[in-house]
């Protein structure tokens, strides 16, 4: 037993690590630059001062290598992560892939940086306003374009607009230098290098390591939406999801066990037939459809207006416990119904099946033969044994509840994890998205863990094979 539980917990750890790596990688591939998102927009699209940018980057821990190691081609320098801006990094990575000679790519990068600085240093005067905007655009293009055609076009534009005006002609030397280094890079490709694999080891000072260890300490970073720490924001949502899931689980077990037993005891009768059919239909009904139907037909003035279509209700200050309970219950009846019926049907069917297979056993026949009354046979002999699989089905039901919460919370606008996940995806607020996803995954995994341990406690024959 003890060994089994220990082994089960040992499985939990690699699972958690794998999930965290998957989610972290998605986070890395998320479009947009998190530093820029966190700093917000600058007036007139002016570049963010590099000092402020670097400070924020450091604060977010993004100045570190991404992972413990990296597999790349030998053409890539192992210090590419030191390039501050994400867009620059991505573009440089493209250029390295296309030309293979990091030294020249680096020179080109530095020369375009210098060109950019020179462009932004030009003061606005009466002669250059429209030309300056175009030059700025073209110079910016240099650092986000990798195709030869696009780059040549940008160079052409800079020259065309900068030459005639004295104030902008000052940037021409920088332009010449950038163009020269670009041609140099193009003339000396080392494409062979891109075909040689290389493995770089970065050690523990990396983004994933920091992110995951902070996550385990419940430090989730800050939200893009209002820049507040996510940990402060999220506990309210967890509260609602957990509360409703728990009520739903309790309801499920309270109703499904007697229902399953009733159905099994009256096997073959019309009552059993009706119960079985209704349960099967409930089991197959998609909850988001049922929720839509309920909202359409029970919560709108067009048809019946019996229930509130969304929210958890507003509780005025000074409302007593029962008043609060009443408001909440009124708002939560429909969501709870949608949340519960699926797992209720699933569990009742399992209970019925379990009970039927127990009732076929020899010891039940013995109990009956010895003259025990039916009640005693059912409750004392059959019930306990048919309960085993039901307890362990907690494993299926709990994660079901958690993902079910996403559906129902979104439709009924309940401020739980599912709702907040949906809103964060729409925004898109990636730190929030991945925190909620990690928490949801963690909750489901804990559900599985508890169920497996219960399984071992209930049925001592189980060993971990």
């Amino acid at each position: 037993m003890f060994q089994y539980v220990l082994k089960r917990i040992l499985i939990f750890i690699p699972t958690l690590i794998i999930i965290s790596i998957v989610i972290f990688m998605l986070n890395i591939f998320a479009p947009g630059d998190p530093v820029e998102k966190m700093l917000g927009a600058t007036p007139e699209g002016e570049p963010i001062p590099i000092e402020a940018y670097n400070a924020e980057r450091k604060k977010l821990g993004l100045d570190l290598p991404v992972f413990y190691f990296a597999i790349s081609s030998a053409a890539y320098p192992d210090t590419l992560y030191r390039i501050p801006k994400k867009a620059d990094r991505e573009n440089l990575s493209r250029l390295i892939n296309d030309y293979g000679n990091w030294d020249k790519v680096d020179q080109y990068y530095k020369s375009t940086q210098a060109l950019n600085d020179a462009v932004w240093a030009v003061k606005k005067d009466s002669l250059n306003p429209s030309a300056l905007i175009k030059i700025k655009g073209a110079a910016n293009n240099l650092s986000i374009r990798y195709k030869d055609k696009d780059i040549m076009k940008a160079f052409g534009k800079i020259k065309k607009y900068a030459e005639p005006i004295p104030s902008t002609a000052a940037i021409l030397p920088f332009y010449e230098k950038a163009l020269a280094s670009y041609n140099d890079m193009k003339a000396n490709p080392t494409l062979g290098k891109t075909k040689i694999p290389a493995l770089n080891w970065y050690g523990f000072g990396n983004q994933y390591h920091n992110w995951f260890s902070k996550f385990l300490m419940f430090d989730f970073g800050r939200s893009f939406q209002d820049k507040r720490p996510i940990a402060d924001k999220i506990w309210d949502y967890v509260y609602w999801t957990m509360i409703i899931s728990l009520i739903s689980i309790i309801l499920t077990y309270l109703i499904s066990i007697p229902l399953g037993i009733f159905s099994a005891r009256n096997k073959g009768t019309r009552a059993d037939g009706i119960v079985t059919t209704v349960l099967f239909i409930l089991y197959s009904l998609p909850s988001f459809w049922v929720a839509t139907l309920l909202i359409t037909f029970l919560c709108q003035p067009d048809y019946l207006n019996w229930f509130p279509p969304y929210g958890i209700g507003e509780v005025k200050e000074g409302t007593g416990f029962f008043g609060t309970l009443g408001i909440r219950a009124y708002h939560l009846i429909l969501p709870l119904f949608c949340w519960t019926y699926g797992s209720l049907a699933f569990l009742s069917r399992q209970m019925r099946g379990g009970m039927l297979s127990v009732l076929r056993q020899d010891y039940i026949r013995t109990a009956r033969a010895k003259g025990l009354d039916e009640k005693k046979v059912i409750w004392k002999h059959a019930f306990r044994n048919s309960l085993l699989p039901i307890i362990t089905l907690f494993a299926n039901v709990f994660p079901l509840m958690i993902s079910g919460s996403i559906v129902i919370e979104i439709i009924f606008t309940i401020p739980g994890m599912g709702r907040v996940l949906f809103e964060a995806i729409k925004y898109p607020d990636y730190p929030m998205v991945f925190t909620v996803v990690m928490l949801l995954a963690l909750l489901s995994m804990i559900g599985y863990l508890i169920a497996d341990i219960l399984y071992a406690i209930v049925d001592p024959r189980i060993t971990f094979k």
């Binding site: 699972t15 591939f29 998609p286 459809w289 139907l293 067009d302 958690i402 996803v437």
Partner: protein, 439 residues
């Protein structure tokens, strides 16, 4: 007397049927006994026909038409145009197909595409008058906010639903069968490799991953912009390169096996590895992961299918593994190995075909789940491109227009029915294959 003879004949025929004791015949017989599952299967076939021929059932173009003396088949021609094999004649370019002056035209039963707008008829109820020319042009299941025909949307939505179910579960079946077969057939003790092969395979995997995926990462990521066909091709190419390099590494390893130390066999506990992997994958909540993937990628049904396929193989692998654990101990497998066939051949050719039927159970339930996930995602409006009309999207419109009760009922009913049918088939298969019912 005649009656008796007839009875005898019938009995003989039945006996003959009973005589067909092959495994598949047995499964088929058992499945046929379950009428509910059988009819569900027929209805699913019918839906599949709708999915395949959606363009011929609901389309804005006529099936056949005569225009200025020549006969056209515009619906068929559209396939040719899409494939780049033909071009529309001038008089058919950018036209409203309904207003052309045909000599004669036969339109499909539903003369609308899901995207056709009918401004005179938005939120037309399926019952009551509609501002259409005649009953022929009636919107049988009503229209949405922009006057798009709901029935046409549902017919074309069938195609998306089936495609998601079949592609996702196809991928899952492939992974599940391969991993399950290796785990079940070889167990923890039977899979042996020489030391040198292990080392070379590991190197091959590393290099294969590098040349198949990493060094082509930009080709791969660019292909996402070109549509799912291109992605699929590039992914297959990547897997092909990887497999080729691993095979090559093993070929190179052969001469080294002459050295005794290097040739010493190492037992690889495949079963443990696979079952651990299954446990890990099972703990990942599918919907949550899909939401995370959808959050960072461009909306595409392909991504949804890929994620479902990569997570849903565990049930299939478990079934195949359990069956092969049983089958590998049977005499005919021993006979096959005794005859000198390789283990791989014994597994794929002799053992696997007899272990496949439980897979159908998992596939049936899996398709139901995949369809449910896809309709849920499109219901939320995330992960599925804006221009694709699906059942879930039609249902979502009901939330913004509660007065349009038909938007709430019909698309949801389509999802419900399809999911239920696949579940019923799954249950029928479970019953048919359950050894406890064999007597």
């Amino acid at each position: 007397m005649f009656g008796k003879k007839k009875g005898n004949d019938k009995q003989n025929a039945e006996q003959k049927k009973e005589l067909d004791q092959s495994y598949w015949a047995y499964v088929k017989r058992q499945f046929r006994k379950n009428k509910r599952a059988l009819y569900s299967f027929y209805i699913v076939l019918f839906l599949a026909v709708i999915a395949v021929f959606a363009d011929f059932i609901a389309n804005e173009k006529p099936l056949v038409c005569k225009y200025e003396g020549s006969i056209y088949f515009p619906v068929v021609k559209e396939y040719a145009v899409d494939l780049g094999l033909a071009q529309w004649p001038k008089h058919f370019q950018n036209v409203d197909w309904k207003t052309i002056n045909y000599d004669f035209a036969v339109f499909p039963p539903i003369p609308y595409l899901p995207r056709n707008l009918d401004y005179s008829c938005n939120y037309c109820s399926p019952i009551g008058d509609q501002p259409v020319k005649s009953t022929r042009w009636r919107h049988w299941l009503g229209t949405d906010d922009l006057g798009r025909d709901v029935l046409a949307g549902m017919i074309h939505g069938t195609r998306i639903a089936f495609m998601v179910g079949i592609v996702a579960m196809g991928l899952a079946t492939f992974i599940g069968i391969i991993l399950g077969a290796f785990a079940g057939f070889f167990g923890d003790t039977e899979f042996k490799m020489s030391r040198i092969s292990v080392v070379f395979t590991l190197i091959g995997l590393f290099l294969g991953f590098f040349y198949g995926f990493l060094s082509r990462s930009y080709i791969l990521s660019d292909s996402f912009g070109e549509g799912s066909g291109a992605v699929f091709k590039q992914l297959l190419l990547g897997i092909g390169i990887m497999a080729g390099i691993v095979a090559l590494a093993n070929l190179i390893a052969i001469p080294f096996k002459k050295i005794k130390f290097l040739a010493k066999p190492v037992t690889i506990p495949i079963d443990i590895l696979v079952t651990r992997l299954i446990e890990i994958i099972v703990s990942i909540p599918t919907l949550v992961l899909i939401l995370a993937v959808v959050a960072v990628t461009e909306p595409s049904i392909f991504n949804v299918m890929l994620v479902i396929g990569l997570l849903r193989w565990t049930g299939i692998a478990r079934f195949v593994r359990a069956e092969l654990l049983r089958v590998r101990r049977l005499e005919y497998i021993e006979a096959a190995t005794a005859l000198g066939f390789s283990k791989l051949r014994a597994m794929f050719k002799h053992a696997l075909p007899n272990a496949l039927s439980p897979v159908f159970i998992a596939v049936a339930f899996g398709i139901a789940a995949a369809i449910l996930i896809e309709s849920f995602l499109s219901f939320l409006g995330i992960g599925v491109p804006a221009e694709v009309i699906t059942w879930g999207k039609l249902l979502a419109i009901a939330r913004t227009a509660p007065a349009a009760w038909w938007m709430a009922i019909f698309p949801g009913f389509a999802i419900f029915i399809t999911v239920t049918l696949f579940n019923l088939i799954g249950e029928g298969l479970t019953d048919a294959l359950d050894p406890r019912l064999k007597q």
